[in-house]
Amino acid sequence: MSTIDIETARRVAKLARIRVPDQNLPQLAEQLSGILTFMEQLNEVDVDGIEPMTSVTPMRLKRRQDTVTDGDIQARILSNAPDAREGFFAVPKVVE
């Protein structure tokens, strides 16, 4: 039985960059605990010597020349941006 406490829920939300209001954290923690408990059935399985699957179909990914195949479409790339200026995506000022 896995339990996610409120602090862990807060940390996961932060890592996922999703703002969760404080009053919603207890319910989130409870739901995450339920889901993780469900996943813990996997601990019953003997996985000794089994490699984690990386590709469901044995295939070697194709390679191609490392060359530019597309470009000069700046306006199209920016056409859906919530804020674009002077050919760039615009974001709030980042001050470090």
Binding site: A16, I18, M53, P82
Partner: protein, 494 residues
């Protein structure tokens, strides 16, 4: 008979015989769509595009070299990017997004002459089994429990596609399937849905959920239609490195109706505790039908079946949390209004909180957790090992001579909208219990309607095939379809 009730095969033959035009077919569908607002299946209608493509299709048919899908009106799931047409994966975070490009699958359909009628409702980012997580509100199943007017789910995530095909709003529709999202809604609506082998259809331009599991496939009224439509959707694409560079067979030509000598496996692990007697009977009847058609029935064991759902609910959210990181309010879609002093982190957090619905938020956070330092091995790597064992179960069955595996498609018929609202999220996940193994193993699977339950709702069986064996699988599915003789249609109430 209204033209929108034709199958793809019937429409193709009548188009080629010049008995109908694509414009007439398209207009019949557009009229049906306008009269079916209560189903909330089409969420973005594209009548101008449809009529323009229909006219072009008629000209092409007149020239005499039109492919099978030429002039056929279809619906496209909202998960597919369609150039200049809203494509928002049923999420508020992609509100207003109009792609500058067309997904490979929808482009292949377009280039084959198919007519896009509009975009179809779905669960947000394809995460759900009831269509209730959609930002457009849920689609509604055209089927009802007899005279009871309780609205039922069309299933999910491809619920709009299933409802539209079942209600004859289009002749076929595209769906996508990550854990059962084509097969479960097909079973809930008395339609046919096939998830092809992973890599058969290009994923390029389809909004990504879990990239190692996602596959597109057709949702249609008959197995023959699925064969025809899949042929147009499938094929190698250099822009999806996981799409297979192997020839696409003529799936329709494979429908010989002869399955004598084929071996059908019945996996004992799919006989779940508490399985409704009606599902049990459906499965037994389906087994008998294939036996009567000359197949050999063998009992098989897929011992890791019970671990498929928990493995899936580690792997799919892990991949989703990575894929959905791109929705940050910078390049497309929604950006939250910022307060004074808010910086870029606040922009990300507020944008994602406003844009993602509760189920998507939950899965992104689960994925974030299982991938985080200290838990990666315990959850994610363990799930990928279990996935390897699940695939090995199937490999061994096929190596022992099994050609296809017959199982129920869903643990129940369509349930009422809202009925699962207070349930634990895990209870909803159980809908995928029979379908999710197929995605984990990358295999083709098809849902075929074979009966009605005591409430008058459709039930489906699933056939699982060998990798790249869609042609053979479709042939077996058609034998089952013919033997079951499922011809029921929902009574029109909308």
């Amino acid at each position: 008979m209204s033209l929108n009730t034709l199958t793809i095969a019937e429409a193709r033959d009548r188009l080629r015989a010049r008995e109908v035009t694509s414009v007439e077919l398209t207009q019949a569908c557009l009229t049906a769509i306008d009269g079916a607002g209560a189903l909330n299946a089409f969420v973005h209608k594209t009548p101008e595009i449809a009529l323009e493509r229909a006219a072009a299709a008629d000209a092409r048919i007149a020239r005499g070299d039109a492919p099978a899908m030429c002039g056929i009106p279809v619906g496209i799931k909202d998960l597919f990017c369609t150039e200049g047409v809203p494509s928002q994966a049923a999420s508020n975070i992609l509100k207003g997004f109009k792609p500058e490009y067309e997904s490979t699958v929808s482009a292949q359909l377009r280039d084959a002459g198919a007519v896009m009628l509009g975009k179809l409702n779905m669960d947000e980012f394809a995460m759900g089994s009831s269509n209730e997580s959609s930002c457009y509100g849920n689609a509604v199943n055209p089927w009802r429990r007899g005279n009871d007017d309780t609205p039922l789910t069309p299933g999910g995530s491809s619920g709009g596609s299933a409802a539209a095909v079942a209600a004859d709003l289009c002749l076929g529709a595209t769906g996508t399937d990550t854990g059962g999202s084509i097969r479960q809604p097909a079973a809930f609506t008395g339609t046919v849905g096939i998830k092809p082998t992973y890599g058969r259809c290009s994923r390029w331009g389809i909004v990504a959920f879990a990239s190692s599991l996602d596959q597109a496939g057709p949702m249609t009224k008959t197995v023959r239609d699925a064969a025809i439509m899949l042929g147009a959707m499938a094929g190698h694409d250099a822009r999806d490195s996981t799409s297979a560079d192997i020839p696409v067979p003529d799936f329709e030509a494979a429908l010989t109706g002869d399955i004598r000598g084929k071996t059908i496996g019945i996996p004992s692990e799919y006989r779940m505790d508490g399985m409704p007697a009606e599902i049990e009977k459906l499965w037994t009847d389906g087994t008998a039908m294939l036996k009567d058609a000359g197949a050999t029935i063998v009992d098989i064991s897929l011992p890791h079946t019970k671990y498929a759902l928990p493995a899936y609910y580690v792997i799919a959210p892990a991949e989703a949390s990575s894929n959905l990181a791109r929705y940050d309010g910078v390049r497309y879609g929604h950006r939250a209004k910022l307060g004074p002093g808010d910086g870029i982190t606040e922009m990300y957090e507020k944008t994602r909180a406003e844009g993602f619905g509760p189920e998507v938020q939950r899965r992104v956070m689960v994925g974030t957790y299982v991938l985080s330092a200290g838990f990666y091995d315990a959850y994610y790597n363990r799930a990928r090992r279990v996935r390897a064992l699940i695939k090995r179960d199937f490999d061994l069955a096929f190596a022992a001579g099994v050609d296809a595996i017959l199982t129920p498609a869903t643990p129940s018929s369509a349930f009422g909208l809202g009925e699962m609202a207070d349930a634990d999220p895990v209870a909803m996940y159980l809908n995928d219990v029979f379908t999710v193994t197929v995605n984990l193993a990358g295999l083709p699977g098809i849902a075929v309607p074979t009966g009605l339950d005591s409430k008058g709702l459709p039930l489906g069986l699933q056939l699982i095939g060998r990798p790249w064996g869609e042609a053979d699988l479709l042939n077996t599915a058609q034998v089952l379809e013919n033997a079951a003789g499922f011809v029921s249609k929902p009574q029109k109430w909308w």
